[in-house]
């Protein structure tokens, strides 16, 4: 199917929305309440566009492509409408970016930047921070919430933990946990789905606070080291330290979702108790040793026992925690170097 967006002729898939088609082709249409995983919500109306031959403005997140469609994303009318919506959002919350953790990866900020909003057009309401600090890993500031509903859609539709919902009405509307109890006292299992889906600084990783700006980090995609699901994760690294972990969007098996351990259980990497040097036991206590000394001692003793009692007097426990390549080398070490099939790991335990 062929359509035109912003004067570019594109081949797109049937059933796609205009917003999806634009994104796939690297064309920016501002949006807030839409997320690939939670789908169109049609709430924020930031993604409006004009379509030739159709009256009025249309939300591109819910508008399906059709043959020959001509989409205009930057007409005066579109930009005016988008500015109005964003200015209203900015006026109803506490959207000051200075120390906000989301600064640099905030979608509201991106939209304001795109629209060239230097100073919000309306008087910013005297909004006080409304913080819920009760959870171990998730930090909420309702004053930065734009009620887009992505967190609620994720909690109920993706991970199906069914904790978050909208509570109250009209001006009082807000995101609540269970029957509006603090998150730390709710049934929340802190999977962080809401954190990952929040477009602003309203729901953020508590552990990341003050650890560094997004642009100071680099991301490395890898596989989670906990259970056997093999979730794909991005490690956010600053100065040889993990300061955040997010689920990799768009890639299975997890498609961005994670559990509390995978997302937040990374302290051990930089724990001061990590072993940093080989240790040799002498007279009942450990002393530090060089690699040469330690490995020579091991080699000497294993060779001696092998000579005295045969290779089957030695056993090797490999590990369900190390890589395939390392497991391969471990069994090769047992079988080729030592000469025993006494190699196993804790699959049964």
């Amino acid at each position: 199917m062929n359509i035109t967006i912003k004067d570019r002729e594109l081949e797109v898939k049937e059933g796609q929305t205009v917003l999806q088609a634009a994104r796939e082709n690297g064309i920016y249409i501002p949006s807030l309440c839409y997320h690939d995983r939670t789908g169109p919500a049609g709430k924020c109306r930031v993604c409006v566009v004009e379509v030739e031959g159709m009256a009025g403005l249309h939300t591109s997140c819910s508008l399906e492509v059709s043959e020959g469609m001509k989409v205009i994303t930057d007409s005066e009318k579109v930009l005016e409408a988008q500015k109005l919506v964003v200015n209203l959002l900015l006026s109803t919350g506490k959207h000051d970016c200075l120390s906000c953790e989301q600064n640099g990866i905030c979608e509201l900020q991106d939209v304001a930047y795109y629209l060239g909003i230097e100073t919000p057009a309306f008087h910013m309401a005297d909004v006080k921070p409304e913080i819920d600090d009760s959870s171990e890993f998730v930090y909420l500031d309702h004053s930065k919430c734009i009620l887009c509903g992505r967190c609620i859609a994720g909690c109920n539709g993706t991970v199906v933990n069914e904790v978050l919902d909208f509570g109250y009405r009209g001006h009082e509307a807000k995101v609540i946990c269970d029957n509006d109890v603090p998150m730390g006292h709710s049934s929340c299992v802190q999977c962080g789905e809401c954190v990952q889906l929040c477009p602003t600084g309203a729901i953020i990783d508590k552990l990341r606070r003050g650890k560094g700006r997004p642009w100071e980090t680099h991301k490395v995609q890898t596989t989670c080291g906990y259970c056997g699901v093999g979730c794909q994760i991005d490690l956010h690294i600053k100065d040889n330290e993990v300061i955040d972990i997010t689920g990799k969007e768009g890639v299975g098996p997890n498609f961005g979702s994670l559990c509390v351990k995978g997302r937040y259980g990374y302290h051990f990497l930089n724990d001061p108790a990590r072993l940093k040097t080989p240790l040799i036991r002498t007279n009942g206590s450990f002393r530090e040793a060089s690699w040469d000394e330690a490995l020579d001692l091991v080699a000497k003793n294993l060779n001696r026992i092998k000579q005295e009692s045969g290779p089957d007097a030695i056993g090797v426990f490999s590990s369900a925690r190390i890589t395939n390549e390392e497991n391969y080398l471990m069994q090769k070490f047992a079988r080729a170097t030592i000469g025993t099939n006494n190699v196993d790991h804790c699959a049964r335990l």
Partner: protein
């Protein structure tokens, strides 16, 4: 894995995780999925909530996923063969099984029919405590689905009858034609990130990579060629057997990498004696674990974020691990340490990178033959992958089973090795929590996780709490024939009267002081899930 290998010729999850949302019926047993595999639990919950799937949960505990279940069967501990045979009894009686499938794809139906004959709903109710009507409903629901998926975990395998339990589930899946179809299959959920890969790589006493048998001369010849030395022909010993041989002095040295048997193994007093009996113990790990403390030499290694390589997940998908950090101090990657040590012992191992190791693995492993890092850059690949143009195999046993025809195995009920008696009147079952992981080496370094799950506890039903005069939060002493621990009571509706639950993560109150090391005779898995204990309020 032994059970699945016997039935189908290969022991692994048969279907991809994404298939869960294609199932009409999902049967979860022996898996506290929301706690131990939360991301997979989301698939189950979405299937039920949005795709109209029906969920059957069979578990002695009222685990959270039961909230989504159409039918929850609460069996007595260690009676799995009985309810599974009972379901098949109903399915055969009512002719609900897939006759065409059974005829063309399987052998051994007659033996199975004979074996399940006595497992009438009344008999099942008597042994398992599952009401006969509920059993019949579950059997009809499972058999009526065009695609039904079975998911299980250690609650099925960690019994002396573990292999029989798995064989019975395999029987059930084959009987209803659920093997080799999208949304079907029998799917063991693996507990550790690379337990599948460690098995695939031949870190097992009886097989090389890709489950090639060590006692097959042709395969041994291939390894000899690849390695330049003749490997031994007799299968070796499992961990639990090695522990016994350590105690008897037949094994004099152990080299333990990335494991903590001093918390994770059953009957810890015995483990300590075994490790104490060793002449030389080498432990390679990232922390000074309870096991490392007993070592002669401790070698510091790199954690998952500090190295390149691959992991194979529970659905047989090989995925990349990428180095993001430098290891601390002088710590080195495990591969680097192993190669260095091997070379010092007189057998040179030298590889430029993990990529070069994978090249060697692909050369000698039919099921990993098509795996290389260039392809993995574009995404994970499911084994078997038999060539670089082969797309991988998300769903096993499509047209035929790995071993040709699927084999029904007649199984009979074997009660747990230890049952409650006067002295030890309660059942103990063990498991994991959402907020801690295995022996806690990693998770217990997180202040947040420790704040949520700070210490061991004993879950006890309100009825037992009343009988034993136990208040919530009160310190309990739990004793078995093998040891005793102390932990606070947590009164919980999840448990059935007569059974208590203890998470095994905590070294200071290690549930495995109590557990029974009796083994499944085929798989050598200890019976962690059932033993007999007594509780009293500690003085």
């Amino acid at each position: 894995m032994v059970g699945l290998a016997a039935a189908f010729g290969s022991g692994a999850m048969t279907n991809p995780i994404e298939d869960i949302e294609k199932a009409e019926v999902i049967l979860v047993t022996g898996s506290n999925t929301t706690k131990n595999h939360p991301v997979i639990a989301s698939y189950i919950k979405r299937a039920v909530k949005f795709k109209g799937a029906k969920l059957i949960v069979v578990d002695p505990r009222k685990i959270p996923i039961t909230r989504f279940a159409t039918i929850w069967l609460r069996q007595n501990l260690g009676t799995d063969v009985v309810w599974i045979n009972g379901m098949m009894h109903v399915i055969i009686q009512e002719k609900l099984y897939d006759e065409a499938y059974v005829k063309t794809r399987t052998v051994g139906l007659d033996e199975l029919i004979k074996a399940v004959e006595k497992f009438t709903p009344e008999y099942v109710e008597h042994i398992t405590g599952i009401p006969k009507e509920a059993l019949v409903d579950a059997a009809r629901l499972y058999a009526g689905a065009s695609a039904a998926s079975i998911l299980y975990a250690m609650g099925i395998t960690q019994h002396i009858s573990g292999t029989d339990n798995v064989k019975s589930l395999a029987n059930l899946a084959m009987l209803c034609g659920n093997m080799g179809i999208p949304g079907g299959g029998i799917n063991p959920l693996r507990g550790q990130n690379n337990v599948q890969g460690a098995c695939d790589m031949g870190a097992l006493p009886n097989v090389y990579t890709g489950y090639q048998k060590v006692d097959d001369p042709a395969i041994r010849e291939r390894m000899a060629k690849a390695w330049g030395v003749e490997p031994p022909s007799q299968p070796g010993l499992t961990i639990t057997q090695m522990m016994d041989k350590a105690l008897s002095g037949d094994i004099r040295a152990l080299y333990i990498v990335g494991e903590n048997p001093m918390v994770s193994d059953p009957d810890l007093n015995n483990v300590r004696k075994s490790l104490d009996s060793l002449e030389f113990l080498i432990v390679q790990d990232i922390f000074m674990t309870e096991t490392a403390q007993m070592a002669n030499v401790v070698l510091p290694s790199a954690a998952f974020a500090e190295k390149d390589g691959t992991f194979t997940n529970t659905e047989r998908k090989i995925q990349r691990l990428r180095k993001a950090l430098d290891p601390p101090g002088a710590a080195r990657e495990d591969s680097d340490i192993i190669c260095d040590l091997s070379s010092r012992m007189g057998y040179t191992m030298s590889y430029n990178s993990s990529l070069a190791v994978m090249e060697e693995i692909a050369r000698i492993t039919p099921s990993y033959c098509g795996i290389n890092y260039e392809r993995l850059e574009r995404g994970g690949i499911f084994w078997p992958c038999t060539g670089t143009a082969h797309p991988g195999t998300p769903c096993l046993h499509m047209d035929q089973f790995t071993c040709g025809l699927g084999v029904f195995h007649a199984t009979d009920y074997i009660p747990p090795a230890e049952l409650p008696d006067e002295e030890f009147p309660l059942y103990l079952t063990t498991g994991r929590l959402l907020y801690q992981y295995h022996t806690g080496t990693m998770t217990m370094k997180s202040p947040g996780l420790n704040a949520i799950a700070p210490e061991c506890f004993v879950e006890i039903s309100p009825e037992d709490a009343k009988n034993y005069n136990v208040n919530d939060g009160e310190l309990l002493r739990v004793t078995s024939r093998r040891g005793e621990i102390r932990a606070k009571a947590r009164i919980s509706e999840e448990l059935k009267p007569g059974t208590i639950f203890i998470p095994f993560h905590y070294a200071e109150a290690a549930a495995n002081m109590l557990t029974n090391s009796s083994l499944d005779p085929a798989a050598k898995i200890p019976e962690y899930k059932v033993c007999a204990v007594n509780v009293d309020t500690a003085i």
